[in-house]
């Protein structure tokens, strides 16, 4: 596959800094060092005991039930879990995107040490888009249907970075080329309905990264796309990550996607993280019964009989408060300890944690 170098001008800060010091280092590593000096252990995103309760017509939904997660500068963290396990709710909570009147947050989200829940409206506006970018599952509906795509990207540049119309247009074209949309000039004036899903997702990505965010939150970015386009989008995301040192929080329910581009992975079940660790560690030695069961469900080529396995049972009622392990009723290894209280946090090797009482 043809790869296009992201134009230098887009990321002029990096160019300036790369002129001094580390000659041979890639831009990403350079930026990584800048953001996070190796001698200091620092986190870009530190989620501590996050709970998100949503007020709905059916009652209070406890969508996220105490999540601890961290994203280091420059890494790609995958969050996997079945539908309804709170992945997207958590992702939106990072930029406080939920309807304030119907959502109750507790816990803390620290972004570069700043508390997101303590931000005032203006700070939050600068934080969204400026330091975080977000892409959504369905690009068709995530773009304004009646504005040309180029103008939508240019708008971000004008609003967030104070570009003039002309500058914004030029930069937009460069961004479009960076996400491999050609010819950029002609595509600039096209409307969302004139483009394919894959192309729109590239536009979304261009828009989300136009202000050089430190963290890109990708909420199932490839779910609505077919497999070949998926690969291209993942490739693009990885390139952005490597070349810009931009961290990515990738939400998906596809283990293949995780294996493809993530450094670390967190497995979520019913609003909690059940296991988190390096991709290789988790895939090779899944410690939580849920992770094991999930990985067991991934169909393998040449796996003999064409049996699609599933996990028996259903998700617990998310409108109820629970303290004990929520997976226990579906867990083949469940014992007395499981119902006795919150699952114990247990380290399994470096950076690999599992929440299981067994």
């Amino acid at each position: 596959m043809r790869t296009v170098q992201i134009p230098y001008t887009m990321f002029s800060e990096d160019r300036r800094s790369s002129q001094g010091g580390l000659g041979g280092a890639s831009e990403g590593a350079q930026r990584l060092n800048e953001l996070c000096p190796p001698e200091l252990e620092c986190l870009l995103l530190d989620i501590q005991g996050l709970r998100v309760d949503l007020m709905t017509a059916r009652g209070v939904g406890y969508a996220v039930r105490g999540v601890d997660l961290e994203v280091k500068p420059g890494e790609v963290l995958g969050v996997v879990g079945e539908s309804g396990c709170g992945k997207s709710v958590m992702a939106k909570a990072i930029v406080r995107l939920h309807d304030a009147g119907r959502t109750r947050y507790s816990g803390r989200i620290l972004f570069s040490g700043r508390d997101v829940f303590a931000m005032r409206e203006k700070e939050l506006e600068a934080f969204r888009g400026g330091e975080t970018g977000m892409i959504f599952q369905d690009p068709q509906s995530a773009l304004n249907p009646i504005l040309p795509v180029g103008e939508q990207i240019a708008e971000t540049l004008r609003v967030k970075r104070g570009f003039s119309w002309k500058q914004a247009r030029q930069e937009t074209c460069e961004l479009l080329e960076a996400v491999e949309i050609f010819p950029a000039e002609a595509r600039y004036a096209q409307y969302p309905f004139e483009m394919s899903g894959g192309m729109l997702q590239r536009v979304m990505i261009a828009m989300a990264v136009s202000c050089k965010p430190k963290l890109l939150i990708a909420d199932e970015p490839t779910t609505a796309l077919d497999v070949t386009i998926q690969a291209q989008i993942l490739d693009l995301l990885r390139r952005l990550n490597r070349q810009l040192g931009m961290s990515i929080l990738l939400i998906t329910h596809n283990f293949g996607v995780v294996a493809e581009i993530c450094d670390r992975v967190a497995v979520m079940y019913a609003g909690r993280v059940v296991e988190c660790g390096g991709v290789v560690d988790v895939f090779d030695a899944p410690a939580h019964p849920y992770t094991q069961a999930l990985l067991n469900c991934v169909p393998k080529s040449g796996g003999g009989k064409n049996v699609l396995r599933s996990i028996p049972g259903t998700l617990p009622d998310l409108y109820q408060k629970f303290d004990q392990c929520l997976f226990a009723e579906r867990c083949p290894h469940a014992g007395d300890a499981c119902g006795a209280g919150a699952p114990k946090r247990e380290g399994r090797g470096e950076g690999h944690v599992v929440y299981c009482s067994l």
Binding site: R128, G129, G133, L143, L147, V159
Partner: protein
């Protein structure tokens, strides 16, 4: 042949016909001084209540004024005032409605209850109220009707904003850190424009009728200024002697309002891709 998004006919028969009528009304009334054969207020008692002739196309009224000229000048007053009424309702109704729909909550509840109270007011009563406050004349009636129209357009914008607000593109705009103001006016409003436009065209028609009824009751435009509503009223007493005195402004009102309604329908049909009249296969290949 590949076409852009504007394929399909805008100029369908109804739009074409009503478009011509509306353009004619607009041009004839706006440039009344050019087209009117004589001064609308020229009194000639010797020529009173004449039937139509070449000199007086629609005859004359009891004081010998030329009805055709008065019709054109009267139309100018009526149309201008109607547009002003709609202008007032747009200026206040759309931003308030969009904000209510977008924010919801207490603001929404309060404003909507105010509108409910306003809607419960008969427009005539409010007209009387304003006339007693500001004195007779078109200012009072335009203001009264403008205020009466705010709730309707406001409620429409509100419900449109509520629908749009839950769409993903608004969420994505929020995730980019746009201000609420920008999201409302740059992203939500343009997406509501199609429906609003059709509604506003319709409102101009209603405003013409509303103003005419107020004038008919002697509240609005004061003589000798000509106005369709005033003319209607003046002619009623002399319906036997010269029916054209009332019939011509009446017909003008009906024609304009019907045209506006049909035109508004046409716009809506064009803006809705599913309803839009598309060319035949043969014409495209």
């Amino acid at each position: 042949m590949r076409r852009g998004r504007n394929s399909g006919a805008f100029f369908t028969a109804p739009i074409l016909i009503t478009g011509v009528i509306l353009t004619a009304v607009a041009v004839l009334t706006f440039f009344a001084p050019v087209f009117a054969p004589m001064d609308p207020n020229r009194v000639a008692l010797s020529e009173s209540l004449e039937p139509p002739s070449l000199r007086h196309l629609l005859g004359t009224d009891q004081t010998g004024r030329d009805i055709f000229s008065r019709l054109l000048y009267g139309g100018r007053t009526a149309v201008q005032n109607a547009v002003m009424v709609v202008g007032i309702s747009i200026a206040a109704g759309i931003p308030i409605g969009l904000a209510c729909g977008y924010y919801g909550g207490l603001l929404d509840a309060l404003v909507m209850r105010c509108w409910d109270i306003l809607l419960a007011f008969p427009s005539l009563l409010l007209g009387f109220l304003f006339v007693s406050a500001f004195g007779r004349g078109s200012v009072a009636t335009v203001l009264a009707l403008g205020i009466i129209y705010i709730p309707m357009i406001s409620k429409l914008s509100r419900s449109l904003a509520m629908t749009e607000k839950s769409k993903v593109y608004v969420e994505s705009a929020k995730s980019l850190g746009y201000s609420d103001f920008r999201i409302i006016f740059r992203h939500i409003l343009p997406n509501c424009l199609a429906t609003l436009l059709a509604e506003l065209t319709l409102d101009v028609g209603y405003a013409i009728i509303g103003l005419a009824s107020l004038s008919f009751l002697g509240l609005g435009v004061q003589p000798p200024t000509s106005d369709w509503g005033t003319m209607l009223q003046e002619g009623v007493a002399l319906l036997r002697q010269n029916p054209l005195m009332s019939l011509s402004p009446g017909f003008a009102i009906v024609l304009t309002v019907i045209s506006l309604n049909v035109f508004s329908d046409g716009i809506q049909a064009y803006l809705d891709i599913d309803q839009r009249k598309l060319p035949r296969f043969e014409a495209c290949e």
